[in-house]
């Protein structure tokens, strides 16, 4: 267990470091001057220069990288150029929208996909299987923003059941907040659920073809018992792999979905920050998202070890 864990954490750390260089280098070449952006169209050149000085934009690249990275390590993400508040505060404000959204979507997609996959696998070739897999093909093909559009049209505009967007804040109560997150979460979750259901089904079918399933059947276990007690756990590895990969897609998806539903989450923050050239925010949020992906994948790898004793070493 230890060597495997150490190795994974080590590679994760290297990946993070490389990623930080990529992020920083990438953003340094973004055209557009944040200072001018902040002051607007008719600002004088003096004012812009003064602001550049204030924001430390005149320092050499390597210095800015070092101080950014150093700050990052101690949790100081710097100050937003545009909002002039600490980035960490911004991130915290936005994360309470994005994180529940991503988790809700993840929960919804898993809660839909795993049972569907299980059912389909155990009813292979039957009508229900065919319908479920047909629907999942469709689900995979639907772009989430289009789906979001249709959801808004039906549930918010036509039926007026759920808010079309916006977020009242958790202070407004859990229920209104959850209500606001529901449609976005569905829009994010359904296409993901479609993929996950397919993976679950095919992973289960693969496992059901293994020798040990036959052994278990020879013990007198019924088909369903074998599915639950033996096949499911073995099939979890590919399912977890996809879940890990999906998390990255989910994060990317939130950028668009948060824009469709104008949710004040990290995705919209980053989109806004890019257009406003609030580079420090972009850097920090991208880095955080990348770090999240890396950590989630690390967790997925560790969960492999929990599922599969062969990975725990001797």
């Amino acid at each position: 267990m230890m060597p495997f864990l150490l190795k994974r954490i080590g590679t994760g750390a290297i990946t993070l470091l490389l990623a930080s260089i990529v992020v920083f280098a990438m953003l340094d070449v973004v055209p557009g001057d944040p200072a001018r952006m902040m002051l607007g169209m008719n600002a004088t050149e003096d004012a812009v220069q003064a602001l550049r000085e204030q924001m430390g934009l005149n320092q050499p690249l390597i210095m800015r990288y070092m101080s950014w990275l150093g700050g990052f390590l101690v949790g100081d993400l710097g100050r937003s150029y545009t909002y002039s508040v600490p980035v960490s505060q911004l991130v915290a404000e936005r994360a309470v929208v994005s994180l529940p959204l991503a988790l809700l979507a993840l929960f919804l997609s898993t809660a839909i996909a795993i049972p569907v996959g299980l059912y389909s696998a155990s009813h292979r070739g039957k009508a229900a299987d065919t319908i479920a897999m047909g629907a999942s093909q469709l689900g995979v093909a639907i772009p989430n923003f289009w789906f979001a559009l249709l959801l808004v049209y039906v549930f918010a505009i036509a039926l007026r059941l759920l808010p079309a967007g916006g977020f009242p804040g958790w202070t407004a109560g859990t229920w209104p907040a959850l209500k606001a997150l529901f449609l976005p979460a569905i829009a994010l979750a359904l296409p993901q659920a479609a993929i996950l259901a397919r993976v679950t089904r095919s992973a289960l079918l693969d496992v059901l073809g293994e020798d040990f399933v036959r052994t278990a059947r020879a013990k007198g276990l019924s088909r369903n018992t074998v599915l639950w007690r033996h096949a499911l756990r073995n099939a979890l590895i590919p399912v977890f792999t996809i879940l890990g990969l999906q998390f990255s897609f989910l994060l990317a998806g939130t950028i668009i979905i948060e824009n469709v539903f104008y949710l004040p989450g990290l995705g919209r923050l980053i989109f806004q920050a890019i257009t406003q050239r609030d580079l420090i925010v972009v850097e920090s949020v991208v880095m955080l998202l990348v770090a999240t992906v890396i950590v989630v994948n690390l967790l997925v790898d560790l969960s492999y070890a929990a599922i599969d004793p062969r990975l725990r070493g001797t």
Binding site: N42, A164, G165, P264
Partner: protein, 493 residues
């Protein structure tokens, strides 16, 4: 299936009734398109700042009302010396900032000196450039001496960039604005909304609303959805003109179309060949079908203009007839300029719909006279850098939303690259003229020159589509200045 429908319908009904208003409300959620970068109007040009704090949180010596006229504000009255160089302002008594500190002449001097200082980050330093000095007469009187007479000085003092701030709070106004206005800043959920609440200690007429939330909805589709679903009860600068017919037909809403100070133009880089040739610029003017642009990009919202002047301004001269849409004439002019084989140019478009959609239409119109536009969409940051600062562009579309800003054509080094000494002379004269009739005459001449030179492609005056809940009254229909003045807004009983 029908069972499901019934269920959904019942659910919808329940939700609708539960959210229905019972009595006169005192809260309001307002949609705004842009989130301000911060909330200090004296340290940034972004219209989004003024659209939240102007008149509501911050006040200046004067203020500009719905009709664009200068009204007294913190200065209850003023006198002007005969040489028009010395303005003596009499300040209101008993005014307090939101943090409890008292407002007096010190604050006025501090604000004006700060704005015109060497290291000032005021985006409109030009507003204060005429000021020679500011003197305290007594705590309720301030004397401002100008270097030379300035006709628009009182108007200038009504801008958001000229509001009065307190030295105690000036540095923190960006995050926590402290002014003298009828509303206090309450909360800013970044990316989401900004809330202001009633200031019970306000010196002037108390406001009807207890609380107003500005919800930030940049996306036209989301704005439409938010209005339709009742999430916001007002959207003063509604960004989706295509929804106009639908909203007008809905009795829940009142849709008004107001004017703005936004001259939307097809900017031309006058310094860059072949656009330094007036014939080419005129050809472009002939090629443009303004009405098609207004119909296509703005769904009919907007007034065609023929020069850089707002049609609702008394000094407006209608120049739209100067270049009627005439493709043949445009082609002939291109021929005269030796460009019968056509040219390839870039058309850089900032994010707003008027630019992106208008750009597509104009590109199609210009293609007909042999000008092949490559459309390059740019973010505002890029636009400011590439187009506005570096002047690296051929054509671009932008709305100049500052009021009475025809003087930009006389500014040296402005991004149009226009240089006409005759025009400059007119503007200089305007600056020192305060007689209304004379000013009007000068404005007229200026408009004529711009039209003759076809400096840029004048398209239309941006209209302001306001969508308000039918039960609300007291809001501005026009936008003579960038503001969402909520001082008179109230829910009907």
């Amino acid at each position: 299936m029908s069972g499901v429908k019934t269920l959904l319908a019942v659910g919808a009904l329940l939700l609708a009734t539960s959210s229905a208003a019972m009595a006169a409300r005192t809260d309001l959620v307002l949609g705004v398109v842009l989130e301000p970068p911060h909330l200090d109007p004296t340290a940034g040009a972004a219209a989004a700042i003024d659209e939240i704090v102007y008149s509501n949180v911050f006040e200046g010596l004067t203020r500009i009302d719905e009709t664009g006229t200068v009204q007294p504000a913190l200065a209850e009255s003023w006198t002007i010396s005969d040489d028009e160089k010395v303005y003596t302002f009499k300040l209101h008594g008993g005014v307090k900032f939101h943090d409890g500190t008292t407002f007096d002449a010190e604050d006025v001097k501090f604000s004006l000196d700060r704005a015109r200082a060497e290291n000032s980050t005021n985006a409109q330093k030009a507003l204060f450039s005429a000021i020679e000095n500011v003197e305290l007469v007594d705590p309720a009187t301030v004397k401002v001496t100008l270097k030379q007479p300035q006709g628009a000085f009182l108007y200038n003092m009504g801008w958001g960039d000229a509001v009065i701030v307190a030295p105690e709070s000036a540095e923190t106004n960006k995050e926590k604005p402290v002014g003298t206005g009828p509303f206090r800043f309450a909360d800013w959920a970044r990316g989401s909304s900004i809330t202001i609440t009633r200031n019970p200690e306000y010196w002037g007429t108390p406001v009807a609303l207890d609380k107003a939330e500005f919800r930030i909805i940049p996306d036209p589709a989301a704005a439409t959805a938010a209005v339709l679903s009742g999430d916001v009860q007002a959207f003063p600068f509604f960004p989706a003109p295509e929804a106009r017919a639908q909203l007008e037909a809905d009795p829940r809403f009142k849709v008004t179309i107001g004017t703005t100070e936004g001259e939307t133009i097809l900017s031309i880089n006058n310094k860059k060949p072949p656009f330094n040739n007036v014939k080419v610029r005129q050809a472009i003017s002939y090629a443009i079908d303004r009405q098609a642009v207004i119909d296509g990009a703005m769904f009919g919202l907007g007034t065609p203009i023929g020069s850089h002047f707002a049609p609702h301004n008394p000094a407006y001269v209608d120049m739209t007839g100067a270049y009627p849409h005439d493709v043949e004439k445009a082609k002939a002019l291109m021929h005269e300029a030796g460009l019968q084989d056509g040219i390839k140019v870039t058309l850089k478009l900032p994010p707003p719909q008027y630019a992106r959609r208008g750009g597509e239409i104009i590109a199609a119109q210009l293609r007909k006279i042999g000008i092949d536009c490559e459309i390059v969409p740019v973010e505002w940051a890029d636009w400011l850098q590439q187009v506005f600062k570096d002047k690296n562009f051929d054509l671009t579309i932008v709305s100049h939303t500052e009021p009475n800003d025809i003087d930009i054509y006389s500014r040296k080094d402005y991004y149009f690259g226009y240089d006409n000494p005759n025009f400059d002379k007119l503007i200089e004269e305007l600056n020192i003229t305060s007689d209304e009739a004379a000013r009007k005459d000068l404005y007229g001449k200026a408009q004529k020159i711009l039209s003759d030179d076809a400096v840029v492609g004048f398209l239309f005056e941006l209209a302001r589509m306001n969508v308000w809940d039918a039960n609300i009254e007291g809001y501005w229909v026009n936008a003579p200045i960038q503001a969402n003045d909520l001082t008179k807004v109230r829910w009907k009983q």
